[in-house]
Amino acid sequence: MDAAEAFILARTQFGLNIAFHILFPSLTIGLGWFLLYFRVRYECTKDAAWLATYKLWLKIFALSFAMGVVSGIVMSFQFGTNWPGYMNKVGAIAGPLLAYEVLTAFFLEATFLGIMLFGMNRVPGWMHIFSSVMVAAGTTLSAFWILALNSWMQTPAGYVVAGNQLIAGDWLAVIFNPSFPYRFTHMLLASGLTAAFAIAGLSAWRLLYEPSDRSATRTLRVGALVAAVLVPVQIFVGDLHGLNTLHHEPAKIAAIEGIWKTEKSAPLVLFAVPNEEKRRNDYAIEIPKVAALILTHDANGELRGLDDFEPDRPTVAPLFFGFRIMVGTGVSMLLLSWFGVWRLRRGEPPRALLWMFSAFTFSGWIATLAGWLVTEIGRQPWLVTGILRTADAAGKITGAELGASLTVYVLTYSLMLLAYFVVITHMAGKGAQA
């Protein structure tokens, strides 16, 4: 096996691991705040149905959190084993950000989750609520640090060159780098939506079995309402994030939009099959001038095409399709949540609506994964934009070692994911019990 194959294996393995990992934090960051809401409602009303709701979702949270923890540990090892060049070059910046995530977020979440799960009868009510706040805050803080690092890799700022490596010149500029505010907001909203649709979907699933379940009726409404509010905000923030990307990473936008040559009045490509060989879109369905209008706010504006960035540009197809999957999912989420809220206010929901919400249980994951693939593949061939190429960061792990471990990871993750689906649909199907 040659080095190129080992490199592809290293990327596959790391990508698979992160893709598996991101599912669970993207759910728990949002779910933590929902749990706090359920807990506070119980404290205010002393209604046993809220307590039952809280306990059901706490169990789902704990399960998802455990999945996130164990897959996250794998990452702390793979940073060094798969990408030693990364730490050599930018470790003085990436390292402290990761360290702060562990110190300020991980221990907080894990310790107070123990109290949340098992301590309800052992600590006073306010202490239990405080623990819920700490867990929710911990998950959000962890997103803060990891997205600061991820954004810095996309749009590096605040660094100084010291010999062969980069060091921080200004930590605030490193953390609050140009794309961070957009990416962080975008991710938090994505997580809120993932949790909202999971709650609405699993509650709808329960209502299909037991239409009179009060707890599930409530949580379906809460989930649908939060989703209906957050989706339009997300679309707005997503647009701002896109404009920010156009400014800082124009090649990524060119690939997303399928713009092969720099041109004025570029059309919006609704669908096409990008052809890397001939550098054009096949079977394209386009709306004239709209891409220029959206991105430059001028129908005659000029957009830089991929030809401007050769050879340092990402492969088009994954970005082109990933972006369309994300946006398509987002628009469907908007329609379903608005229609759902409207219909739920009019009384008992029809079974078809319950089926629709059930089908959208994991829509947040699809949109998040698609968006994440767009932003990460869109950074290629760079690991840190303009500073370090992914190929230059690869390590000396042999293809055989990577292949063997990759196989075991795939098996383990498949088993875990299967069990996860079975257990949470089973738990949700049984419903909340006081």
Binding site: G80, G95, A99, L103
Partner: protein, 325 residues
Amino acid sequence: MTLDLPVIFAALMGIAILAYVVLDGYDLGVGMLMPAATTAQQDLMVASIGPFWDANETWLVLGIGLLLVAFPAAHGIVLGALYLPVTAMLIGLMLRGVAFEFRVKAQGWHAELWNWFFWLGSFLASLAQGFMLGRYVTGFESGAGYWLFALLVGASLCGGYVLLGATWLVLRTEGELQQKARAWARWGIMWVALGVALVSVATPWMSEMVRDKWFDFPRTLWLMALPAASVGAGIFVWRSLRPAAADWKPFAGAVTIYVTAFTGLAYSIFPFVVVDRLTIWEAAAHPSALQFMFWGVVIVLPCIAGYTVFAYRVFRGKVKGGLYE
């Protein structure tokens, strides 16, 4: 300021790893003891570690995280050389972690299956950790003898974790299960004694550095205080396993064994972070990075210690069953 930051971070990394070994050690030990208990007892055993295992495992992330961020040059070498045992450990930890959640939610033969995954994960992770330690202290030398040595360390660490797990159960349970735990602890201590004796005899042959450091009179006489303390703690554990002794004593004794053994190990290796190859100063990250992290650690670590102690106080006393209250 003239702080020797690499030394400080080496000490912090040592503390994190020691905390991990002791804390996750007891719950891995409990996991390995699962097949020896009845179903009702298994539920109690799992309940005794329920509130803690997540946070316990986080110490591993901190320890490895500090290796990665404070000594990046060493992280690649150490974990690259240990790639396959690390993978085995991670798979073990994953199985253990999710089995913990799944076993309470599954029914019938599914629950039984997750119990076995819980055992398998705990065992695999423990064996792999010991194996990694064995490879690490010998500087990743190749040769059948070195691999055998690593396996020996792996087996000994399993015994050590069983000892921690059993004494933890003596502390946290009562009645029949506690009686069983006392018997397990006695087996554990014999296992550890045999393992430590073999490892102590083998190590000076395996590593010249260790030999030079320990057999250098008259310093040797002072150093002998460490193994003496270990043996003393072992005897203390054995004696306090009588039902009349206080329930906290066996666990405290077992922790003491770990602290003394770890101190000895740290003394053997210092100032290397990759044995015989890289010292902590050579491997250290840029001072600006260490400086920035230093203040975070100074502020945050006491908070972590504070709320960890709080959590252990909340859950003190005997477990009565009933996982989710």
